[in-house]
């Protein structure tokens, strides 16, 4: 019997939304996040359509401001920050560790409720008050203090989502420390768990900073405390510091679990143990540590001192090293492997390619001189979409295609999955690569209108968004149809060696009839050789 058939005290949907089973909670996250993703993607498409020609095309400037703000807030706080950790982390952390659940199952359910509650509050800001927030997702003071749009409500929603993120982090850290199966030493843990471990530390240490910052924005708007308001002796730069002290490490909350999933997929589809296991594991932690010290690179043109800019630029270059360590190890793992180009592997290869472009363009911005030229231009937009969409979201899709048969017990149509991947890969590059050029030529980000000389590239980019969405629709249609009509997958369709594949698909309610004893590393494929 799988966990889908588990007896519950509650009927119907209540047996899901009141379940403390980590697998059900993981799927709850997956479903809610994909709904938020669809909302954010729709807003993105509308933005691109508006930008197909100069001047007003389908919306007014104020609507455009609201649309790009909500696109950013929804995609960042409701999709890519929970990212892979919330759905796949919840589902697979106990399974990969050889445990029956996370350390605090009730707290885990509470985290999901906070997530959904916070998401509902954010979305309600669309309809309440004097129009949706129009500040951009960065809610920079002093504009966020003065605008009459529903900033306070949206910000409170994000605060609640932050609570969810903190509680998940605490839960995962405790789980990893306390609930490893016998024989599961730190260096026998799958690399996905290492990435979750590093991510959870960032969640715990960084998220409270945004929590207090958001509360201060609300107090600023309601009581006029003046911390960020120059008219009262406050300093908007302090807001930027506090905001980025969280929001830069948050980038690593987004990307680290994707790196972890990629590190799982590569050895399985190259039929080869991962190259440099320890280097990949430690580099996750190194990224988390150094990533905490680079926030000032968002503020190079904000008027911080030269010495501060020098230090932040240096650390920005340093944080590229552990990322580079990972990329080189992944590529080395492929070398002389017996590579099988299934959908998860194709997404993984796209991840490495797109993440490398995103990462290297990040260094262009990390250098003080070039930063001045491209600051707040489309170059930045291109860069972070290559990291967040090309990196984190392609990693998300890789994980989705990799673990789909385990979660649902069925296999999707593999040809359709590859077709969707190909269309998305093309669409993605057509959509975002022109933005590098646009930015270099001087097109500022967040602008509703532009000079005629930018139109060609904007039009190419908009066409790319249509291709990308076509690929997304094919992918989701394939995955949804296969829930019922896919072929039965079996326990271990990829012949992977980690623990989650050694139980039936979908897993039974308590995961393991008997807690396994671990005697080898996570990528030891020797046992499959005889078959």
């Amino acid at each position: 019997m799988s966990f889908y058939g588990e007896e519950s005290r509650y009927p119907g949907i209540l047996s899901w939304i009141f379940s403390t089973d980590h697998k059900r909670i993981g799927l709850l996250y997956l479903i809610t996040m994909l709904l938020f993703f669809a909302t954010g993607a729709t807003l993105g498409i509308l933005m691109r359509l508006e930008l197909i020609a100069p001047g007003s095309t389908i919306m007014e400037a104020t609507s455009y401001n609201a649309v790009f703000t909500l696109h950013g807030v929804i995609m960042i706080f409701l999709f890519i920050i929970p990212g892979l950790a919330a759905p796949f982390g919840n589902f697979f952390l106990p399974l990969q560790l050889g445990a029956r659940d996370v350390a605090f199952p009730k707290l885990n359910l509470l985290s999901w409720w906070f997530f959904v509650g916070g998401g509902a509050i954010v979305l309600s800001s669309l309809f309440v008050g004097e129009g949706p927030p129009d500040t951009g997702w960065t809610i920079y003071a002093p504009y966020s203090i003065r605008t009459t749009s529903a900033v306070s409500l949206a910000v409170f929603g994000v605060f609640v989502i932050g609570l969810s993120s903190i509680l998940t982090g605490i839960n995962f850290l405790t789980t990893i420390h306390r609930m490893r199966a016998p024989g599961m030493t730190w260096f026998r843990m799958p690399l996905f768990i290492w990435s979750l471990y590093a991510t959870a530390w960032v969640q715990v240490i960084a998220t409270p900073v945004i929590g207090i910052t958001l509360l201060l924005v609300i107090l600023e708007r309601t009581l006029g405390i003046g911390f960020f308001d120059p008219a009262k002796g406050g300093d908007p730069l302090l807001f930027q510091h506090l905001f980025w002290i969280y929001s830069h490490p948050a980038v690593y909350i987004m990307i680290l679990p994707a790196m972890g999933a990629v590190s799982e997929i590569i050895p399985v589809f190259a039929r080869k143990s991962i190259f440099g296991y320890k280097a990949i594991a430690i580099s996750s932690v190194a990224i988390a540590v150094v990533g905490y010290l680079v926030w000032g690179h968002h503020m190079f043109t904000s008027g911080i001192s030269y010495e501060a800019r020098l230090a932040f630029s240096l650390f920005t270059f340093l944080v590229a090293i552990p990322s580079g360590v990972k990329v080189f190890n992944w590529v080395a793992s492929l070398y002389k492997g017996s590579i099988e180009l299934s959908a998860p592997m194709l997404y993984t290869l796209a991840f490495i390619f797109l993440f490398s472009i995103g990462g290297l363009s990040g260094l262009v911005q990390g250098a003080l001189v070039t930063n001045v030229h491209i600051h707040d231009t489309y170059f930045i937009v291109a860069h972070f979409h290559y990291i967040m969409f090309g990196g984190a979201a392609f990693g998300f899709f890789a994980a989705l295609h990799y673990w789909y048969p385990k979660m649902f017990g069925r296999m999707y149509d593999r040809k359709a999955a590859k077709a969707a991947w190909f269309i998305k890969f093309i669409g993605f590059n057509v959509l975002y690569f022109p933005m590098f050029v646009l930015g270099w030529q001087g097109m500022p980000r967040r602008y509703f209108d532009y000079l005629p000389q930018y139109q060609d590239l904007h039009m190419i980019s908009t066409v790319g968004s249509w291709i990308l969405v076509t690929g997304l629709i094919i992918m989701f249609a394939n995955l949804i149809i296969s829930l019922r009509h896919g072929a039965v997958a079996g326990a271990n369709p990829w012949k992977a060696a980690t623990l989650e594949w050694q139980v039936p698909s979908p897993p039974p309610p308590e995961n393991f009839a008997e807690i396994p004893t671990v005697t080898s590393g996570p990528y030891d494929f020797g046992r499959f050789r005889d078959k």
Binding site: I212, L219, G226, F227, G234, L238
Partner: protein, 206 residues
């Protein structure tokens, strides 16, 4: 085998796990207040004279009294935890009740202090503060935000203590399972500790 199942279905079975979770939570609390301490240090360094002038208006006597109240409550809390571990339910009940009462006394005193200040027109964005130096306004904004957030934590702590009292009477907390009350104690001590920093920063440095 069955013990392994118990330890998982019984989420409080893992004593060390619940401790790790609590300490991590306390870490997030420190970072939460850390943002405010950061603002305090920046504004203090840029408005040293105004901060000095503003602080002289706060009553250090009441601040000291509040410090004494919270320190005593922490003592009572520690006694309660130790009584629970020894299985002395009566003594634990008394100590917990004393902790709760002292927490309430602290809040009442804080309420009186705030009311008096607000009565004199000293509150964020007030016309009175608008006439003074920017720094004095920032000082009092910090004062209200930091002691306010701290007060909310005291309130939350009191609620947790009342829950512990109920669990203690029901026997759900006792010699065999004292992780919950220990964790509540850790939280209470942290809230106390934060006040130990707030007291000199607002009342003593003049």
């Amino acid at each position: 085998m069955s013990t392994a199942v118990d330890s998982i279905s019984h989420e409080h079975g893992d004593y060390a796990g619940s401790k790790i979770g609590m300490w991590l939570f306390l870490l997030t609390e420190i970072v939460l207040f850390g943002g405010l301490f950061l603002l305090y240090s920046v504004f203090r360094s840029s408005n040293a004279v105004a901060f000095h002038n503003a602080a002289t208006e706060l009553n250090a006597g009441i601040g000291a009294l509040n410090t004494l109240i919270l320190l005593t409550s922490s003592l009572a809390m520690a006694l309660a935890v130790s009584a629970v571990q020894k299985g002395e339910v009566r003594a634990a009940t008394v100590s917990l009740s004393v902790t709760i009462v002292l927490g309430l006394v602290f809040l009442v005193s804080k309420y009186a202090e705030w009311s008096e200040k607000i009565h004199h027109g000293i509150y964020p964005n007030s016309p009175e503060l608008g006439l003074r130096d920017y720094g004095e306004g920032l000082f009092y904004s910090l004062y209200y935000v930091m002691t306010g957030l701290h007060g909310l934590h005291v309130l939350g702590g009191i609620v947790a203590l009342i829950v512990m009292l109920v669990l203690l009477r029901r026997g759900a907390v006792g010699r065999d399972d004292f992780a919950k009350i220990e964790n509540t104690g850790l939280y209470w001590h942290l809230v106390d500790l934060i006040w130990i920093f707030l007291f000199p920063l607002f009342y003593l440095i003049t």
